[in-house]
Symmetry: C2
Subunit: 349 residues, 2 copies
């Protein structure tokens, strides 16, 4: 681990030195790629919502524009890591230089359009000039250089999807990829939440369990459950609030003849759905928590309190190949693609 630059980028951390880049206050944003790095000509930053909102509030309060704040923060920190919110965002750009020791050295060429899949809060960035700030899409168009480390996730932007749709798919790609790994032929999968992640999970679940398996969907919204019903992946779709564990358990109990689910996928953005997720799984089953509102404590203590010995998984946003797998799912399922595109919205500059 000495000699060559660190796969996680700790060699770029200046303050404190050798910290993980997300932890460091300041990064070395030198725009030349080291042997295991990629330098990218950045075209745009999609700023994290919480961060963008805070920048706008500061603009109103102090008169320092969003543009000036971005230049100041990146100048001070070597990354667009909002010190007030702690959050970042992602960037889009064109590959400029690929270090010969980077794992993608044979795969990426200068000019390839890519997006970073990890936060700007750990990505070295230098800015040459800002062209425009688009408040509605929380987007900053600019010229600059970002550095990707050996272990920084990125994805090639596809030619056949609108940018917003591709980025939405990348954002939730870990969920369907994990469902595909965890669900087996003939099994029963319950997907709680029929938003963008939930819809991809339903399609992945149907692929994985086959015609002999069962797929159930649960969402409290009439619109979302109607959309899920229309796609046809689920054998049954329940319009139910997953904050009511007994109602959910009873529905899954009835629909499975008392067997309950082999795999429960929590893809809900609201808190308080851990217990329903646990109760929908059979004792030997697995609960996969992808909703970012999940409470570790509620899941762990909930299962213990119910004497439920199921396997509880923290959804890992990274599964090798997950970005390409999500796009592939959308390409193979035109109706899913239409529904997903509608949910992803269109950038409004």
């Amino acid at each position: 681990m000495t000699g060559s630059p660190d796969p996680f980028g700790t060699h770029r951390s200046l303050d404190p030195p050798r910290a993980l880049p997300q932890t460091a206050w300041r990064l070395d944003a030198n725009p030349r790629a080291l042997e295991n790095e990629i330098a990218v000509s950045v075209r745009a930053l999609n700023i994290d919502s919480a961060s963008f909102r805070q920048l706008r509030e500061t603009e109103r309060a102090t008169g320092e524009t969003v543009e000036q704040q971005v230049l100041r923060i990146v100048g001070e920190r070597g990354k667009m890591h909002n010190p007030a919110t702690g959050s970042g965002g992602i960037f889009l750009g064109d590959v400029r230089e690929v270090g010969p020791a980077h794992p993608a050295a044979r795969e990426l060429r200068p000019g390839d359009r890519i997006a970073s899949l990890v936060s700007l809060s750990l990505t070295p960035l230098s800015i040459d000039r800002i062209h425009a700030v688009f408040a509605a899409s929380e987007r900053v168009e600019l010229e600059g250089t970002a550095i990707l480390f050996e272990r920084t996730l990125w994805a090639r932007m596809p030619g056949d999807f609108p940018e917003e749709v591709a980025l939405s798919a990348f954002d939730v790609a870990g969920a369907p990829a994990t469902v595909r790994r965890r669900a087996g032929i003939g099994e029963t999968v319950v997907v709680i939440g029929a938003g963008k992640a939930g819809l991809l999970c339903l399609a992945a679940a149907r692929d994985a369990v086959g015609a002999a398996g069962r797929v159930l969907a649960i969402d409290p919204s009439e619109a979302a459950s109607g959309r899920a019903r229309g796609l046809g992946y689920a054998d049954e779709v329940f319009t139910l609030d997953a904050r009511e564990p007994i109602t959910v358990r009873d529905a899954v109990h009835r629909a499975t003849g008392g067997r309950l689910a082999d795999l429960v996928v929590n893809a809900v953005n609201a808190p308080g759905t851990e217990t329903a997720s646990v109760l929908a799984a059979r004792d030997e089953g697995t609960v996969l928590f992808f909703g970012m509102a999940t409470s570790f404590q509620a899941a762990a203590l909930g299962a213990e309190g119910l004497a439920h010995p199921g396997t509880l998984l923290i959804g890992n946003g990274y599964v090798p190949g997950h970005a390409e797998m999500a796009l592939d799912l959308l390409r193979r399922h035109p109706r899913l693609r239409a529904a997903f595109t509608a949910l992803s919205g269109v950038p409004t500059p």
Copy 2:
């Protein structure tokens, strides 16, 4: 699910009816066991620390004694579920009546001494009389009746352990039981945190990986790491702070010749150790989070940010047979038993 009383006890929920007992404001604490319930003559409540502290503060502020508050809360709610803290505790008692449809009907006899392993916040309780309140041990000795549902966890109190030691072992029993399930012969296991749970996990890990495997321990305290070293389960013990992920990664990297761990067990009570836990595992490895200070978001986003595809598990406090397995581990390892007993303290009435 209609007709017979619910395994989770929803039939005892009065307000709202059919809620899970933990959620319900008030339970029916009728002391007769239904067909799938156990009635227990309660001898003592071990009140949760947060709850007991709050009861004492109320006593100082209002003059209503802890005893009076316990009687009032149990009278109002049918359970010792402190409305201010939301927490409960556990009870000790002697079995009085086992319903014929309860799964333990052939195993438990009237007079058997047991402890509940789930919270008083979901356990129907009626009190006949309070004998004494012991502030130092946060214990209330009384006569009353508690009800265990079909799925309520309980454990038989062993004759060969002090009560405090047995209760401490039950408290952390899920961790070593899961280690034993997840670790295989010849594998490398890293245990972070050498408290009571960590020590049991070290012994379970050594049992599971055998002489061909490797066990590493990490704890920031000299005393704790010295204690772990003295027990001899770990091939190496590092005195390191797991809030410093790079230091931990480097140590595990060196100790494993770059292979890293197949299984990392987080048994730390302090926050901020998720990233170190992820970085100590190899890409195909598993991280088992048992520390209750774990943040779901830090674990999920940390793994994604590091492009680490490992399996992330929420430690489930319930594994069938875990309580007996923890006692068995202590019985077979006299030096572990001595260290564990010292850490469990002795009740001071």
